[in-house]
Homo-oligomer: 233 residues x 2
């Protein structure tokens, strides 16, 4: 995994040229809680901006809060949050999922224009609250019929713009896949835009197969609501 990078040389040793300007980040992938809804809502909106779909965005903090946390983790909709800090993170109590912690090196300290907006409620070991929410992944159980076993479907994955191309997307997706294996699940699936060649390549490098023959059918909007009229006949 790209995130499994060795720690930097101690400060007393001259850093090799490749480490000049490198910056250490402490990362944690943990279960979201209802307290994360304001951040989740903003991240989802950023996804709508990225996809030029803000006109379709009607989700509210209230609609998310009332629909996302009604089942124990992994039994229905589940969200992992990715947090970053320049200092080691304090332990958090999370019996349903032991947070995945990694230390990574990035090329230089990231300028985060939305640092204040995405400040996490978590603290690092210095009691400092400069912990940032950098992304999320939303997933839920699917079913692998021929195996007679569950799997996971990944609905959304977002890493905030200023933290992209540093291996964090892979970190979030890997956390979902590792959880699937741990639970004896047999499949993890998600969708990708076929013209997004770099994303396709990235997923293939993670071991995924792109199912070229299958297409997603979607019934929504007025076409969906029309079935309500049929049911009421």
């Amino acid at each position: 995994m790209a995130s499994d990078i060795s720690p930097p040389a101690p400060a007393s040793v001259a850093a090799p040229a490749t480490l000049v300007g490198q910056h250490q980040l402490y990362t944690r992938t943990r279960l979201a809680t209802p307290a994360d809804v304001p951040h989740i809502h903003k991240l989802m909106y950023q996804m709508a901006v990225f996809q030029n779909d803000t006109h379709l965005f009607t989700a509210t903090e209230s609609s998310l809060a009332s629909t996302l946390f009604n089942s124990p983790p992994f039994q229905s909709f589940t969200i992992f949050i990715l947090e970053l800090s320049s200092y080691p993170l304090k332990n958090i109590h999370s019996p349903a999922f032991l947070p995945v912690e990694r230390t990574v090196l990035v090329d230089h300290e990231t300028t985060d224009p939305d640092a204040e907006t995405f400040k996490s409620s978590a603290a690092n070991e210095d009691g400092d609250h400069n912990v940032t929410v950098a992304g999320f992944v939303l997933f839920m159980p699917s079913y692998t019929t021929f195996a007679g076993k569950p799997g996971f479907h990944v609905e959304d994955l977002l890493v905030r713009e200023c933290y992209r191309r540093k291996g964090f997307g892979k970190m979030l997706l890997s956390a979902v896949v590792e959880q699937a294996v741990k639970m004896g699940f047999k499949r993890v699936e998600w969708s990708v835009l076929e013209w997004n060649v770099s994303a396709v390549k990235f997923y293939e490098e993670m071991g995924a197969k792109v199912l070229s023959e299958w297409r997603v059918c979607r019934l929504s909007g007025d076409a969906l609501e029309a079935y309500g009229d049929i049911a009421n006949c």
Copy 2:
């Protein structure tokens, strides 16, 4: 809906030419229960035969029974069973989902080579147990992020060979869509093989859009299990 066909003219009236040989069937779409597992297992195997994938079929009655009924209906994996009888069906108690009953006309009485195997435990109004399980649909909640609302993902739908091309597939899928509308869900999605032109046409006629740009990515088998090794490092 194709299943909403008027009843035939009374026997005392000469039947019009188009009704000669037509046969009335009573249909019911109801929630599956653990008692249906033997039938569900056989239907899933028929699906593997249909897709030339029997070498991938490792599901057992036991794996299905232990994974499919762990949550209340519609909160996780949910199965509707389609039953048919030549006589009106007896009412069944099903508080979580009022079964959808329809009377349909088919061109002639169907010869069902597996009638004995797929005999339902349900009885018709005569107390006769000649009620047949003809198909199933397996679905589960998905999430429509931009709406901040759940939806349904349809994983599998099968109508047994001898009952195809009579509107029963549409009947099963419509029951899922109607339930989605009833629950305030905003989307129903499923996958189709792009070269299956008649299926694509059928779904489009039902109001679905085929998302031509999206591809499904799947991580399974050894590529999936490898993430267990990473997690254990």
